[in-house]
Symmetry: C2
Subunit: 438 residues, 2 copies
């Protein structure tokens, strides 16, 4: 062979690449999420990874814009999508006349952010989004269906101990309204967002820097200290006796959401009202959600979202309110693995490995065809190799069953099947083997 | 609302974006391909879309390199993958010690090529690849399993009339060897590649420009005119009586492949030996494949591939022979649609639409829960709207069944189910509805 200048094969940092065992698990999780979303009738959507920068960055700015992968090709300014919400807005505005509203869609795909490299932060990662977009209006019951989707998704993924935190931005806005501090709401929300991390005393310290009076700060503290069961919290909010219209509207919505979340069979232990969550500063306008794994709060929310007034104002005059969530699967997968919570179960896709001892390939192909026709994933070990190597192959991949074909089997028209877990071994006819495997 | 500078929502040319009905069909096809690959036990692999340019372009050059989306981010030269073979080579070299050989993997994902915009050519498109990589050696029976995968995949996709063309590059190399024209083989193969398009006379005309003698040209013509059944072609190749070692080896391999392709139950009408196919100039070294839809040859091969001597020579000294194929699903989908061959069947994922006539939302949620627990995709129409609009929603999405809940149903604890195709309508209990839908 000619002289080849070799390059070290490597994967960029911040990009996930898995070995087969983990990839099988990752795909199983993707598949469960997709199937659960489809159980609720969400339609599949797929938008391009590359979009015109002008379209993709119509709204972006600040930190987000810095992270975006942008480049020129020919005379075009292009960017890689950094979330699935902007493409959704583009899609709904672009195909408005072809869609049926409420438009319920899911999109599962990779998005790209050139963030500073950091443990558990990825530059290319999966988002698994659902959104319900109304044409002009959208019933509050949709806001209650979303926690049901979250609940069913995580139950189907095998989780039991998670909590969906629900709040309503109108309640927060109403609080600021009531206290006449709306002009400082952005700064206050940024501080409140740290409550779980830094505690109430530190929050109050920071609030004082905003030149809020002690009376106001005490009111804020009183509000964010509201606790108890979900119903007790709702009751205490009522008892605040606020006159703010937006507050009353928010509380009414939250009550409706709680009522229907229960009807949707979400268990009481898996959801709560949490007045501290706000989810960003200017996008969400009503219901907001976060989801935590109980005992692993430090990994942050594993599924978040909320209600927005207007999805696509940068692309269309149409008023398109919506509600949606996103699961960041790449990051969740990383965290589960780090925490030892990833139950990888399979190293092979094949349920059966077929091993000809010598050159019994015709028999091997025949039984392989039969199994495949019966939807049983299988493969033939075809290499000319020592018996030991043939079995190592099946062992390494932890293939559950092995079918062995030697001279005796060939002569008798039978097959020896070995259960690789129990070690049980029997010489059987093809049809009996089918019965065992089905 | 503040003044917003609106951007026209649009998708770049050369990028596929589908409406829900087509997206459902596209995803069904993706899913069938994936499931078929898995029936043969191929392991899932997923490599990043963005790689270091140095790694991705280790081998590239010429036309390919010009098409690649490359850009800088920070101090890094990055590129988007342009196929799934280079990432496979990188992956196998990088994780060599963690993989079990033969390493059988599939990868289904988008690749990117900044080609000149052209009808049916995409800049972002799906490839669905399988490859089997040996460690040092790889049995020829693998070359026969590949057409079986192609066959099963296209049968499962609903095709009947396709033909898998099989050749062996060693036979072509042997021909050139035998005729002592090996130094011109690249030019000759480029010409032969046009045979189907331009015909034998034009091919001979072009061969003359290479200053080949009439005797040689006649020999070439004789070779490429070999016809008949698969067995007749193999017999005629034998009868040529060539002494070239490489020719004999290629013919022996082709016979083995044909023998096992038949054992793998590939129907005679779905494969053939085609001596004219060569698949590129320097990559494939043995068996090669192309697949045509009979009657639609003009759309080109819908699944191609072959055997290569050494997958990863740019990354490792290890000798890694392999055999594989790729289906370009985006392009195939476009062509099927253009040809009117796309049988889109569904406009909704939901099998059932639940319509409360008034505010019977509790009953709606209850029956929705029950259906979902029984794995029946369904959705509730939740908007406060005219009855007419509620039914238009279900009609537009062609949801097969509608469950109607009005005052009467509520009082009786029953549900009216309507088959939207036949128009049949019955008021039934929840459990009877389940029976109908299951």
């Amino acid at each position: 062979m000619e002289n080849i200048k070799r390059v070290e094969p490597r994967t960029l940092s911040g990009f996930m690449e898995l070995l087969p065992q983990d990839q099988i698990k990752f795909n199983e999780m993707l598949d469960i999420i997709k199937k659960t979303y489809e159980l609720y009738g969400f339609l599949p959507e797929e938008t391009p990874i590359i979009e015109s920068s002008e379209v993709l960055l119509a709204k972006a700015g600040g930190e987000t814009e810095k992270q975006i992968y942008s480049f020129r090709k020919g005379d075009k300014d292009l960017s890689l999508r950094f979330d699935l919400t902007v493409p959704l807005a583009k899609y709904v505005a672009q195909y408005y006349n072809d869609l049926t509203f409420p438009y319920r869609r899911y999109q599962i795909g990779k998005v790209f952010r050139g963030e500073r490299a950091q443990k558990g932060r990825y530059r290319e990662f999966y988002q698994c989004d659902i959104d319900i977009i109304g044409d002009g209006k959208l019933s509050i019951i949709n806001d209650a269906e979303i926690p049901s989707v979250i609940y069913t998704t995580f139950k189907n993924l095998g989780f039991d101990n998670f909590i969906i935190k629900i709040n309503n931005r109108k309640i927060l806005n109403g609080l600021f309204d009531e206290l006449n501090i709306s002009q400082k709401k952005t700064e206050i929300l940024i501080i409140i967002d740290k409550l779980e991390k830094i505690g109430m005393e530190a929050v109050k310290e920071e609030l004082r820097k905003l030149e809020l009076s002690n009376g106001i700060i005490n009111k804020i503290e009183e509000f964010f200290k509201i606790d108890g069961t979900t119903d007790e919290k709702l009751e205490k909010l009522e008892q605040l006796g606020f006159n703010s219209y937006i507050f009353k509207e928010g509380l009414q919505e939250l009550k409706e959401v709680v009522k229907y979340v229960r009807l949707f069979n979400v268990e009481e232990k898996n959801f709560t009202v949490d007045l501290t969550i706000a989810r960003g500063l200017d996008y969400y306008t009503g219901t907001v959600y976060e989801t935590n794994l109980v005992g692993y709060e430090s990994i942050g929310s594993i599924c978040s979202g909320g209600r927005y007034e207007n999805l696509a104002s940068y692309y269309t005059k149409k008023n398109l309110p919506g509600v949606g969530i996103s699961i960041g699967l790449t990051r969740l997968f990383y965290n589960l693995k780090e925490l030892g919570l990833l139950n990888t179960t399979k190293k092979s896709i094949s349920k059966v490995g077929i091993i000809p001892m010598g050159s019994e390939f015709e028999e091997a192909v025949n039984i392989s065809n039969l199994l495949r026709e019966n939807n049983i994933p299988n493969e033939i070990y075809k290499e000319d190799s020592k018996i030991k190597n043939k079995f190592s192959y099946a062992n390494n991949l932890e293939i559950p069953y092995v079918i062995i074909i030697g001279q005796e089997e060939k002569e008798k028209g039978m097959f020896t099947i070995k259960n690789m877990i129990t070690g049980d071994q029997n010489m059987l006819s093809a049809s009996d083997i089918l019965k065992i495997l089905k």
